[in-house]
């Protein structure tokens, strides 16, 4: 088998793995969009905030320590204890639920019935706020996140592929774990929205706010719940990306990676988010591998967007999105 083809296969596999991570972030968007019609730009920053909070709790960091030190001239940084990963994850989830409540109480409740684009801009404002807030709370230095996920080369795949092709594929263990977790998450979310009372209420709200209100569904509760679920997805995405590349500002940019995934898959479709993520993941890796060297490399930044843009011109609602019908 020609060497180029084997390389391309490896790149494709890695692209699939990266695509799963994109899909993970995109899922958070789809959930909120389906339930409240809000396109939540802050999803990436929520992932950053979740990851930072997790690291902070695990290491026993004092929140706002930089600010306290600056005002009172103190030198506190850590409480001096270490919290086990599992407990820290539960505590972080509690923080994310509180954040969901705060967002609903102070922002979204006041913007009911506004145009979608206004809500979108509000979430950009929220993203800015949260970005400054998380830096202020936990400090802006790069942190390492280690919750005990396996990392590094997967030896089994390396050996198997070496036996078949005479060349060992490099696949990161973490990517495999991420794939499994993403699959579990999707199954759990679909089951949640299809088979539980709250999930059905959520879909009812998405369908028609007023009709849902009239049958006795509490909009406030549903929205807090939706934002909490989005916070949970952000936490999972934050753990995955944080373990992969460290907890730092660039983590919030994964939101920008997820946007073309959404456009491709359609804003309203959970399977769309996954298929879109895989297409973008494979597409950008392959494009960078095949065409990248001809045009100077680093095409990953824009390839996804241009692909989605071209795609949208022909199918404005995305692959799996509901057909956009306009009534006057």
């Amino acid at each position: 088998m020609p060497e180029q083809l084997i390389f391309a296969m490896e790149v494709t596999l890695n692209g699939l793995m990266a695509g799963v991570l994109y899909a993970l972030v995109a899922l958070g968007f789809v959930l909120i969009y389906k339930a409240s019609g809000i396109f939540n730009y802050a999803q990436g920053v929520m992932a950053l905030f979740a990851a930072m909070t997790l690291v902070g709790i695990m290491d026993g960091q004092v929140p706002f320590s930089h600010l306290i030190n600056a005002i009172f001239g103190a030198h506190i940084t850590h409480f001096g204890w270490h919290v086990p990963a599992l407990v820290a994850i539960v505590l972080t989830m509690a923080v994310m639920v509180f954040l969901a409540w705060a967002v609903q109480r102070f922002v979204m409740r006041h913007l009911v019935n506004q145009e979608p684009i206004i809500l979108f801009m509000a979430t950009i404002g929220l993203a800015y706020f949260l970005e400054g807030f998380s830096d202020l709370m936990w400090g802006s230095e790069i942190k390492t996140l280690d919750v005990g996920l396996p990392q590094g080369l997967n030896v089994w795949i390396d050996e198997k592929t070496y036996n078949i092709f005479g060349y060992g594929f490099f696949i990161d263990n973490l990517d495999i774990v991420a794939t499994v977790i993403a699959a579990l998450l999707v199954i759990a979310l679909v089951a949640f929205s299809q088979y539980t009372k709250e999930g059905r209420a959520m879909r009812a709200v998405a369908d028609d706010h007023q009709a849902a209100l009239s049958v006795g569904i509490s909009l406030n509760f549903i929205w807090v719940m939706v934002w909490s679920v989005a916070g949970f997805v952000a936490l999972v995405a934050g753990i995955m990306w944080g373990a992969k590349s460290g907890v730092q500002f660039s983590l919030s940019l994964i939101a920008l990676k997820a946007l073309p995934v959404l456009m491709l898959g359609g804003f309203t479709s959970i399977p769309g988010a996954i298929v879109g993520g895989l297409i973008i993941g494979v597409g950008e890796k392959l494009f960078d591998f095949l065409i990248g060297p001809l045009v100077g490399g680093a095409t990953e930044n824009w390839f996804a967007y241009v692909l989605a843009l071209i795609f949208l011109v022909f199918r404005p609602q995305g692959l799996f999105g509901e057909k956009i019908i306009e009534r006057v």
């Binding site: 922002v107 970005e131 400054g132 930044n301 967007y305």
Partner: protein, 358 residues
């Protein structure tokens, strides 16, 4: 008391349809113009020019451009940074290719080039709308920045990958480069701001502005009453990009002098300009001025208060800046979706009746 219409008669149609029909308003406008052109150049120094006045003037042009697209035509764009980069690089290529031509013409031409690019990236707006389009404009942002970073022709194969503005003069006075006097750079930008503002104001009052607003308010209804969405949307993209390109050219040539595209024209710039028009007021030329002024002054103000007065480290002040800007955006969207311009309108309304409000 102020803004009194009584006794202010228009006897001709041009008088009736002028930009500032109320006398007091008109005199205030002349006064501001005279102050900006005749007084500030004599009292300006380097700090004021570089920290506040130049960025204010240049961002105002960008904000006017984005306001035409987003505020008047309703097409949200997140590609402002990329289009500013087009203006900057077009200006650079023109400046180095035709050194004998006046820089004034270069800046205008840079706007023209950006307008063409803007139309190209505006084409998807004919098929998609809302935040699908907003996300699509991000494609312009990322692609353009990458293009200027990776294709050496754009930065004339310089080793650093930067572009540097060569020294150029207008009427024998240096306007670019580090040794240009503050008043000259200020006046150069001011001329552009004045032209752009008058142009934008009159465009938005006329046929073309009305067709933009019809598209914004309801595109299907607009189509039915005879507005051509193709020409309305594409003209909005072209004219908006023209302004944004001019501001990018000025930002590079006059203000910074040297530009690293990934640093200067990144997505943060797009958001900054978007925030300016949200805070200033969507669909208002005055709002573009107010928003630009607000967001240029805010960091300076925070730095003066936080770092110089309270003695906090700069990174904490920077975090606070993020928090404050984010909170302000949300507050304005909730409390006053029409921004500072609407507050000014309300004040004017009050002043008109003052001191007998009933």
């Amino acid at each position: 008391m102020f803004y009194r219409e009584a006794g202010d008669f228009s006897t001709t149609y041009p008088q009736d349809s002028q930009t500032f029909p109320i006398k007091f308003d008109r005199y205030r406008y002349y006064f501001v113009l005279a102050f900006a052109f005749l007084v500030i150049p004599f009292i300006i120094n380097d700090y004021w020019a570089n920290a506040i006045l130049l960025p204010f003037l240049i961002y105002t042009i960008a904000a006017i451009g984005l306001n035409i697209l987003t505020g008047y035509c309703g097409q949200v764009s997140l590609g402002t940074g990329g289009f500013m980069a087009v203006g900057a690089y077009a200006c650079y290529k023109l400046m180095t290719a035709f050194p004998e031509v006046n820089i004034f013409i270069h800046v205008i031409l840079a706007g023209g080039v950006t307008a063409l690019v803007g139309v190209l990236f505006g084409l998807p707006s004919l098929r998609i709308k809302g935040f699908y389009l907003a996300v699509a404009t991000l494609a312009a942002q990322f692609f353009l920045v990458w293009l200027f970073n990776r294709v050496p022709w754009f930065y004339n194969y310089s080793a650093s990958g930067q572009i540097n503005a060569p020294e150029r003069t207008v009427f024998g006075v240096l306007v670019t480069g580090p040794s240009a006097p503050a008043w000259a750079t200020y006046l150069f930008c001011l001329v552009f701001v004045t032209i752009c503002a008058i142009l934008a104001r009159n465009l938005t009052r006329g046929t073309i502005g009305r067709s933009w607003m019809a598209i914004r308010d309801m595109d299907i209804a607009a189509e039915i009453i005879g507005v051509n969405p193709l020409s309305a949307k594409l003209s909005a993209f072209a004219i908006s990009s023209f302004f944004v390109g001019i501001s990018g050219a000025l930002f590079f040539a006059i203000y910074l002098g040297a530009v690293e595209v990934g640093e200067v024209f990144n997505i943060q710039k797009s958001f900054l300009v978007l925030f300016m028009i949200i805070i200033g007021g969507l669909g208002s030329i005055f709002g573009s001025f107010a928003g630009a002024a607000f967001l240029v002054v805010l960091p300076v103000f925070l730095k003066v208060v936080g770092v110089d007065l309270l003695g906090w480290p700069t990174d904490i002040v920077a975090h606070f800046q993020f928090i404050i800007i984010g909170a302000l955006i949300i507050m304005f969207l909730i409390l006053e979706p029409h921004g500072l311009a609407q507050l000014w309108r309300l004040t004017k309304e009050k002043l008109r009746l003052w001191p007998f409000p009933h």
